[in-house]
Symmetry: C2
Subunit: 658 residues, 2 copies
Amino acid sequence: MVPDAPDPREPQARRRVVIERVEPQIDCGRFPIKRVVGDWVLVKADIFADGHDSLGAALQHWDPAGQLSEVPMELVNNDRWMGRFQVQQLGRHKYRLEAWVDPFTTWRRGLAKKVEAGQDVAIDLKIGAQLIRQAGARASSADAALLARWAARLEGSPGGESEALIALALSDRLVQMMDAYPDRRFATASDKLEVAVDPARARCSAWYEMFPRSCSAGPGKQGTFRDCAERLPYVASMGFDVLYLPPIHPIGVTDRKGRNNNPVAGPDDVGSPWAIGSRLGGHKDIEPQLGTLEDFHDLLGKCREHGLDLAVDIAFQCSPDHPYATSHPEWFQQRPDGSIQYAENPPKKYQDIYPLNFASDRWAALWDELKSVVLFWAGQGVRIFRVDNPHTKPFAFWEWLLAEIKRDYPDAIFLSEAFTRPKVMYRLAKLGFTHSYTYFAWRSRKQELIEYLTELTTTELREFFRPHFWPNTPDILTQEMQAGGRPTFMARLVLAATLSANYGIYGPAFELCENRALVPGKEEYLDAEKYQIRQWNLAAPNSLKPLIARVNQARREHPALQKDENLTFHPIDNEYLIAYSKSTEDSSDMVLVVVNLDPSWKQSGWTSLSLPELGLQPEQTYRVRDLLTDAEYQWQGARNYVELDPHLIPAHIFHVRR
Amino acid sequence: MVPDAPDPREPQARRRVVIERVEPQIDCGRFPIKRVVGDWVLVKADIFADGHDSLGAALQHWDPAGQLSEVPMELVNNDRWMGRFQVQQLGRHKYRLEAWVDPFTTWRRGLAKKVEAGQDVAIDLKIGAQLIRQAGARASSADAALLARWAARLEGSPGGESEALIALALSDRLVQMMDAYPDRRFATASDKLEVAVDPARARCSAWYEMFPRSCSAGPGKQGTFRDCAERLPYVASMGFDVLYLPPIHPIGVTDRKGRNNNPVAGPDDVGSPWAIGSRLGGHKDIEPQLGTLEDFHDLLGKCREHGLDLAVDIAFQCSPDHPYATSHPEWFQQRPDGSIQYAENPPKKYQDIYPLNFASDRWAALWDELKSVVLFWAGQGVRIFRVDNPHTKPFAFWEWLLAEIKRDYPDAIFLSEAFTRPKVMYRLAKLGFTHSYTYFAWRSRKQELIEYLTELTTTELREFFRPHFWPNTPDILTQEMQAGGRPTFMARLVLAATLSANYGIYGPAFELCENRALVPGKEEYLDAEKYQIRQWNLAAPNSLKPLIARVNQARREHPALQKDENLTFHPIDNEYLIAYSKSTEDSSDMVLVVVNLDPSWKQSGWTSLSLPELGLQPEQTYRVRDLLTDAEYQWQGARNYVELDPHLIPAHIFHVRR
């Protein structure tokens, strides 16, 4: 036998501690959880060993620069441990757990019991001395000297031990010193997990979508970036954080769609901005009617002056006139007759759109080119991207692309416009999209809203899927809004803005309550801006602008509204009334919202508030102030009366003050 | 640029399909699921790709010899797919999923819609021909010729397509042929998962535990293996499958415990069989008073004749007299005074037991020796091992040991006696223990039983934790049984034997309703067999032998009772009555059990049976026959009257016949 040959069962055989069920964790660590700068990550795990020995456990955290820090984990109960760390830098952080058997604490616990039972502990003190000497070998030289002195004292114990020696053995000073030098040779380490840390804006934002070509002050004229800049005070006065523009690139001519999605365009029709590319350029070019790249820079700068971030659209598809169609036909699907395959959803044909073929043999050059598109706009100063239909491009493409962009621009934000099946939406979120459009537009009844929000905010989705609530978009005018009109617009605004920390509206259609559908029962607008220039009367007396400003002000002033996972629904005895609250972790800010979902009739009811969630005692009186109207009420306990008239304002956003 | 240099993003970039949430799966595949020979493994997974293309997916299964078989997966709904395979051989099987984009089915679906809409499909037929030609390149030569012929026909399509060509393109024959040759170059494969397949006995067994030294026919005499063999007809007549003997090794003398756990043994005291080892030998030796190894072989053979498997005890600990203590002191913890550390639970001391030190520097030789102990008994023909206190030995040891033994003896069964915290129990089950003792003995109220069984049979525990229910053991005489006496013994028997497919009793204490405690309020028996020889009057008129025989007969004759995961509880309007059913997957066998948990009073109530679980229609009449008494009743619908007198038989085990 070869002496000291390492046993093949090493090192696993010596690791007595098990670490199981580490949370949070997405798909066995395949994907990172998400946080924003300044957040805490609370980590829980089952940690245990055979037998009854005491254990030690630590939470290790590496920041994006690879800097390691460590905090102790604490036992909660039933072998469940807990610890937390804060993420301060943008980018990918890592964390894992280490745990080990702690013979000193085991020994100390046994010693205390023996002493209490009046047993002779002379040999126990000698055993303790051995453990202290071993720790000394791991200690700094100053501490080693002290540990050696203590060990010598315990070893020198005469047969009948003295109280002083026991006091030393059980002293807090010794515990602290021993805790500083645990024997971690046989520690068990969990696999490393990741946290993707985004800018604070990712946690909370209010978006305003606007077609720049409809911004002209003069009727019938094509709006420009300059007109757009003139509109900024209007947008900023409503309290928005992000201005999002549909594609600003040259628009195709071949098979251009006319007004109201007419398959034949008239000579003056402007076409859909999503039919990208013409002889004037492609995804890195600007439609000349909107202005120049310099005008775009000006607009970006003016946005910043108004506290607005500018978001652009990333729509990876081409009109037949896109330069790629001639310079890189290999990036498209070829048909046997030599033509390029247009978009289809049989039997429907979309001949004005050529989908890119991400799976062609020349995929690599295509992917690199598309990356250069995003980098181009990031290079202009854009940091927020709304991505059109990501679910029709390969997952592997997005995972690669988003990682590439974030390596250079860790503050980049990507909103996924994937109106598709849930698992596809969720996968895109896991792959790195910062935000995701949701099914909110089609969740209108109380129970539907409660179920959907419960799924979003209480399941593992909360770790990686950041919902973005939009009551309308240029493509989506729900039947509920068509039928309900202004009262529904108000209710949906309050729901979107208070249920979700990230929300947006497509304006001015929204604030002007545009609810005329092209075909009743469908969701397309009549005279949709997608296909034509619209003039909007921003000064219309029924505009929701003042209400929107109030709602966004409430969001800015109340940190409780700036998170998603702090949502609680409260029972209220009327099926048209929905009640929910959000509060900060320290309960310093609490907001209670009640919305009337019935656009036609005044509704009233009695709440059954969950008082602990609001930090309130039973029967306690407290004041609630409506942030929309400044009306103030004195309430008591769980049961309070609410009445909401949809023709005035169908919602309360109460600030709750104890 | 180097032409055709492989892109570092390959092959991941070309894999469009995602496979997520594969079930069953334990701890991200770290541990196998468990099955027995002949079982099916139902596999589910989320499978999806970008866009709207059709997908193909297969379930691959490798038997322990590495033989691969494959079956198609089928889409259930919402991107969830399903497939199953059968396990026919003992040992470790593997499985995984493969999924790919299926352009032919996508094309065929689109073609059908276009044809229905009356569109021109000339180019579509040419596209299909390309796909068929590509499949031909993957096909056998006969099939390739046929595919080439079909492709040529579709290619030859004139501008206006003929009905015959469309019929060919949409024909089932073509579908079948194309399904046989999918393009799986860019298929996505899930990680391989494992199934540990045990012998059928692992699914269902009734155990009888008995001290061989108490088997003597003559009073006051030490029983032997030969006496034990005389007892086999008695055990077999009750319908048991497994006879389990406490340790049969030489018993230590030093600090031997006397009757009733007296710290001082008298000269005639026989000691605890778990204090293993004396100058007469250790774990591979037999206590001479029980007989010789040849006697043991005889007993094994006679057990087989009676249809019984023999289980022995594996208790890895030593008496101070064990040969290891002198030959291998390095396998124990040394104390500073040179003595060996005895077992402690401060302030309690167990000086008659030396725990082995699995974490010593000489662990490797110790582990190898302990493995040789199990191999020794397996070599004698033993295949079932009851393992004492596995939770006080390292997890890594058990994982290694069980794998080593099962490699040579894949039919070996190990019962884990870990009465400890749940996560530790569950980890041992994951590591390879076939069966596990449970908390059943302390779950006595209706709601407790329902909650515990629901956890065991409906969560992921069912995939790896096989419960073994024991109403009593030599260490456990619950207060419920002390207080309830014979009615409680009957009720607990029926509960154990019908709630769990694996159960056991410690006899003859059980059938003779031994309920005298050493100290009221504790669980130790008065005159416990652990420390002394007992004579039992097997012919006592109040013996539960006939009832036990009836219960075990019901278990043997009713496949519904031979599984765990087919359990359903049914409401019944009396808190002392509990009702549940089990049925086979095909509903050919259905058993309904009702137990009165009150040992004192007759209880009656009305059932609210969940009829679909019993395969019954509302208001249907059906017959139920009590397998314990042969009484037969006509029942109707969900609501039926039950009355049970604990002084007669406190349970019905109904066979339900439609």
